[in-house]
Symmetry: C2
Subunit: 242 residues, 2 copies
């Protein structure tokens, strides 16, 4: 049996070179969109409508939707709240649908929709995600949201953590340099993740805006088995996760 192929794409701008319609695409934006999305489902959000532009987000707001929208870490004034996982409280989100637009994450989700399934990945749900992927017998492409199309470390480390778990199943293999790079960087960082994360550019950006309180939270493993997936144009929890 031919093995399932694993690849990691470090930037939405590189997606055309990795695109694979047969692959499950896992989108990750650890600080903070994918961690926030997983948190929202943990807290009972019904569905999330990811939109690429602030104009679209604003139009939804005018139609009465609850909107989370930020650029460069800053909440937009028309929005109900921004991109911190701490914003997506049970009180706010349970049973609601939320429109969501962020600097990097929501654009990556839209690109990923060319894959056979789109999943949202974070440390918060990494084991459930790896288990699900191992059972599907499909190729895996991890799309790092990056920062304005630049490479970022925190998404790459997560990609390394995830693919290392998936590769424990020998039905999967990789010949992708970016996948090896992600694994080796994760292995360099894992012993002291919070120490390693000190140097990443996004940590400094968040700190400047007093938004770095979420970094520890976003690196916690397995708070949930929920896996957000794209259905048509909105995110819902994947059903029948075993």
């Amino acid at each position: 049996m031919e093995k399932c192929k694993i690849e990691v794409c470090y930037s939405p701008a590189l997606f055309p070179y990795y695109e694979n319609p047969d692959a499950i695409v896992v989108v990750t934006d650890i600080l903070r969109a994918s961690s926030a999305i997983v948190t929202a489902f943990m807290n009972g959000v019904e569905r999330i409508i990811p939109v690429g532009t602030l104009e679209q987000a604003k139009a939804y707001k005018e139609r009465g939707y609850m909107v989370a929208a930020e650029r460069d870490g800053i909440v937009r004034d028309f929005a109900d709240f921004g991109n911190s996982p701490y914003n997506f409280t049970s009180e706010r989100v349970r049973g609601n649908q939320i429109v969501y637009s962020t600097t990097n994450g929501t654009n990556a989700i839209q690109l990923a929709s060319s894959g056979c399934q789109v999943l949202i990945g974070a440390y918060l749900n990494v084991s459930a995600l790896a288990n699900h992927i191992r059972k599907q017998g499909k190729d895996l492409l991890v799309l790092c949201a990056g920062w304005k199309n630049k490479f970022n470390l925190e998404d790459t480390l997560f990609a390394g953590a995830l693919v290392e778990m998936v590769l424990e199943d020998d039905h999967f293999h990789t010949i992708c340099d970016a996948t090896y790079g992600a694994i080796d960087l994760y292995d360099a960082a894992r012993e002291d993740m919070m120490g390693y994360i000190e140097k990443v550019a996004q940590r400094h950006r968040l700190k400047q805006n007093n938004l770095d309180d979420v970094i520890g939270y976003c690196h916690q493993l397995d708070l949930t088995d929920l896996i957000p997936t794209l259905e048509e144009n909105y995110l819902v929890p994947l059903r029948n996760v075993k």
Copy 2:
């Protein structure tokens, strides 16, 4: 005094997001174009005309130029020879000018020309290169040629080696995640570089075509002080290297 900034760009497709007209741009394509170019100058080539397309290379051939041209590692039939550093012997190249077109490297050189100086980097000239850069007091951008716009490990490792040397001078600094990634991957690989290189995709491609004899050669340090640079549309040795 403001410090000089170091960045690493992992793919020509990401260059627009890193582009910096004030930076010295070092182009690297370790397996094999940048190693071959440095070797050609070691062996006395007068100048190299990098061209992006095979059509351009063929047109030069028809006008009587000596042409090195390959795609996917294979010499093109109209060309005099291909992309192995071993092709650029003293007997062939001394005193000549050569037209050169490769899968990834020559395109990267053309992109890089938006920088304030374009230099060709390889392990073969890495110390001379680092010394030169440290003396210029300018930003540094390392452009990895990659593989058809995908990330590759061998160029990234070289970027790590080079920036580590440049950062020994505290007039330089970095806040670039890709630079940290390159350094950390180089640090993971350096103890056993040939063992590490076993896994890179380009090694497998070269081996399939019996072209992997150059891998050890391309990872030798400091065989020369020559630094190829782009002047107008051709590569010549940088003058006044101290």
